[in-house]
């Protein structure tokens, strides 16, 4: 039976947001998504294993894209920077996760299909 070609654009994965699809930023958003009240700069640095400079750079990109909001205030006479995911950021991150899930599920389906004939071959050699 001939295999049907998938619909055009089936594997385009256009929802893979370029801003989010970067290891450090993905890691930052995942940390922030699990902390709705936000995280201090120092905590984010530790959780994502980033340097001060790298963290600032990625946070600025996320802030400019409206994914993250950054507040600076004084706590015990010391400045504290807190980062929080915005409502739009949470939505975009969830959309991104859905697309990422499709990508991985597609790859898993292909890997399973490739593995199946090989398993059959091995089974064929097995004693009855």
């Amino acid at each position: 039976m001939p295999r049907r070609d998938p619909a055009p654009g089936r594997f385009a994965y256009e929802g893979l947001d370029r801003v989010i699809h970067e290891r450090a930023r993905l890691s930052l958003l995942t940390s922030l998504a699990a902390h709705p009240k936000g995280l201090a700069f120092g905590d984010l640095k530790r959780l994502c294993r980033l340097t001060d400079g790298n963290l600032s750079r990625h946070l600025r990109i996320l802030e400019e894209s409206g994914l993250v909001e950054i507040t600076k205030r004084f706590r015990d006479h010391r400045p504290q920077t807190t980062c929080r995911l915005t409502a739009a950021g949470r939505r975009r991150f969830l959309d991104y996760l859905s697309v990422l899930e499709t990508v991985v599920a597609d790859a898993a389906a292909t890997a399973r299909a490739d593995a199946a004939p090989r398993r059959g071959l091995v089974k064929g050699f097995a004693p009855a």
């Binding site: 709705p36 859905s98 899930e101 991985v104 599920a105 898993a108």
Partner: protein
Amino acid sequence: MLKDLDQALAEISAIRSQIARSVVFRGYGPATVATTGLLAVVAAAVQAALLRDPTGNLPGYLALWAGAAVLSAGLVGVEMVTRARRAHSGLAQEMLATAVEQFVPAAAAGGLLTLVLLAFAPEATWMLPGLWQVIFSLGVFASCRFLPPPIFWVGAWYLTAGLGSLALARGTGALSPAAMGVGFGVGQLLTAAILYLHREEGGGDA
């Protein structure tokens, strides 16, 4: 490679579940919850009118309140699915699973406790209204983190009403309509009021 991909899928699912736990659940609608409170009051009125001696007609008493509970659960359940899909589009499945996970153990414990008392300790069935409310309070406390914070007081109400019922309603007043009507009527209406007042909180976040 397949193992790595399955692991990646499991990790994505874990991230979603983690996010779901940090978002206020908006699947419970104030109007429907208020309806279940009114249903409790109506059931109490039906009991007062038609079941003068609930201790002597325990199957009738249980049928009335089990019917009210099933109808309420059905109403809340159907609305919960539709509201969650609308309010938490990307997270609806995880949020619904968490809501069920938090409340179903208490509901199941209440049902099983009823069966066990009926089968092995029928002399203790006078405790059922109080026990149901105490168990319901545990379900509410379990769901607290997932709902607007004042819902804690609903749990406290059910616990107080349940313990009060156990302490005060013995003998002829054991299965009085007020034990259930007041407990669940006030509790559900209080829940509806809190949900209504906090309806915009955490809005549009998922």
